[in-house]
Symmetry: C2
Subunit: 350 residues, 2 copies
DNA sequence: CTGAAAGCGCTTACAG
DNA sequence: CTGAAAGCGCTTACAG
């Protein structure tokens, strides 16, 4: 049962090809300074013997560290979301520290363009060999991406890639489909009435994202061809009183509203309003799971949250860079995250 | 910004403690043959210098392979589920192959006690240093677990640990809570009526599992104090005609049934019946996601599936054994999987 | 273009 | 109980 095949190493290849260790190494890493003839000979032997490099040995003998960069918003009010990808990044870092991988983090305040540009400049002048970032702030990072392309520095997007910018890999949730999913869930709760889609504008370029979710929602409703329609409301003023006023007015004017869809991570703001509101149950569906949502999930004021495993996105982003830079593996261009559904009864295990 | 702290190794410790490399090695691995005095001295230096072992180097110089065993049902009709943990196990194996980890798989037909016992015997007489298995088949594996305890072989349970058997780690979904979740979902679909709980008996000891799910469901309904009640139906004959007959009769006699809860992975069997059935919509909630469910999800005959990331369970099981055996890390006694909700609109990304 | 040799940080016989 | 030395499978100057 024990097939104790001897592991064949660079030494075996060298002997079989009748060359020195260093030559085999050069061929394996495609380094210059090997004649075509020798290279072919070695390649053939590698192929025939089924040589597999030993990463542990390789890393052990390597001297230089590999540094990866991370450019993300810092964790502050209004951008608490970024805590989760960061956790995943830190986890990956710990796991990979044995491989002499280091991570340099560059954070900035979301609406501070000057700070973003400063960090971009720091990154351009740094010695990183790979980069994790989000495709939001597209204008500010454009120059950084150009620089990366020139220097052949790989970069990975997390959280979104709405403008379809080229990258080593982009990791995101399917947006359109998440809108469909939300519609399906609403449809389980009621099959006649209106869904109010709230556009909570903040400074980020998220209209593209919200737009896709909205399209998905309408697509599902159309497909089911039933009596649910959507209605949009744009909120620009985040002041609590302003929100209350707008919602009260809208709900009074539209008594058929049975559900509210908040296509970003600001559900708790809105749930607060519904907690105090009397009248018939209105179903709430939002995105992403925060501590402040728990209270409203427990009271079933927030009914469903659609989540995208942000921690895993951060982890995967670093891991894919590692695979590319260290292991020289092929990396898939796109990783699509599952659409997780969170309710009162399963958030504890998420 | 670059804190280029020199990594301190066994050599540095040896020099600082004024002993030989081998002695430091002995202390690190708690091997015999070191005087208390020397040991304390070395330990103190390790502590002070903050020495961290380099696993890559450690593994490279180790000669012997580590073999882990896996004892699970084979993949056949009626037990297709085990394909998923197996996938995770294979994934972990690939990732860990660099660490000289080998996995020996022992599979058996679920209802073949003789075969289980045979595999158990093989395992007892094997040279494995860790074991992945499920706590189902508790009677058959009892002797194996005793043997493991005696030999101090660690073992990890996946999929369930209803009888609360001791192990290095057990990985499972929260059963009671999954019943609550199912009840919550039904409650979104209707708020008056009956839920039929189907007990599809097969040869495995799964009554404990089903019982817990049922209790969770009733707990939620009671908590909500509304007008949904449950009703159980036991099916022992899996013949299609028999199922049809029993269901038709039950539904006729109980016109208030609005939902059917199938607390195991056999939903597709039941969905087949509902596909052909005329009459008012009856909601279906089941467990685990298989290819044969897709058709019924698409038609929204199956409404929700509650899933437990079986692939990740297999992966984690192997990984935890690896952490324990190779890295000598502390491993958590229990890993609770999230309760994933799958519908027509998100199964593609699961 | 090619090779011999030292070294990465550990483990493992072997000698004392 | 303790230590000196070889070796794990690679990479990296250095010499030719």
């Amino acid at each position: 049962m024990d097939s104790d095949e001897r592991i064949i190493g660079i030494k075996d290849v060298a002997k079989a090809a009748n060359v020195a260790l260093a030559t085999v190494d050069r061929v394996i890493h495609n380094r210059a300074g090997v004649s075509k003839k020798t290279k072919d000979k070695v390649l053939k032997v590698i192929e025939k013997m089924g040589y597999q490099p030993n990463i542990m040995a390789s890393n052990l003998s390597k001297s230089k560290k590999i540094v990866l960069g991370v450019l993300l918003p810092n964790i502050s009010e209004g951008s608490g979301y970024w805590e989760f990808p960061m956790k995943g990044i830190v986890k990956a870092q710990k796991e990979l520290s044995q491989y002499r991988i280091k991570i340099k983090t560059f954070t900035f305040k979301q609406d501070n363009n000057k700070e973003i540009r400063k960090k971009v400049l720091e990154l351009i002048n740094s010695d990183i060999q790979g980069l994790v970032l989000t495709s939001k702030f597209a204008d500010e990072i454009e120059i950084l991406l150009e620089d990366c392309k020139e220097k052949k520095r790989p970069y990975v997007f997390i959280d979104s890639n709405v403008r379809k910018i080229d990258s080593l890999c982009s990791i995101q949730q399917p947006l359109f489909e998440s809108g469909e999913l939300a519609a399906q869930l609403f449809n389980y709760c009621f099959n006649k009435g209106e869904i109010l889609i709230l556009h909570l504008k903040d400074t980020m370029d998220t209209e593209g994202i919200i737009g896709l979710k909205e399209k998905g929602m309408n697509a599902y409703l159309k497909e089911k061809n039933n009596s649910i329609v959507t209605k949009s409301l744009v909120i620009t003023d985040f002041n609590e009183n302003a929100i209350n006023r707008m919602l009260t007015q809208t709900l009074e004017e539209n008594p058929m509203i049975k559900g509210v869809f908040i296509p970003n991570s600001k559900v708790a703001y809105i749930a607060k309003y519904f907690e105090k509101r009397a009248g018939e149950k209105i179903y709430l569906i939002g995105y992403d799971f925060f501590n402040e949502d728990i209270e409203y999930l427990e009271k079933e004021i927030i009914d469903f949250l659609i989540c995208q495993r942000p921690e895993e996105q951060g982890y995967q982003a670093v891991y894919k860079l590692f695979e590319h830079v260290v292991l020289k593996k092929e990396v898939e261009k796109e990783i699509i995250m599952p659409l997780d559904i969170i309710t009162k009864k399963n958030y504890k295990y998420y």
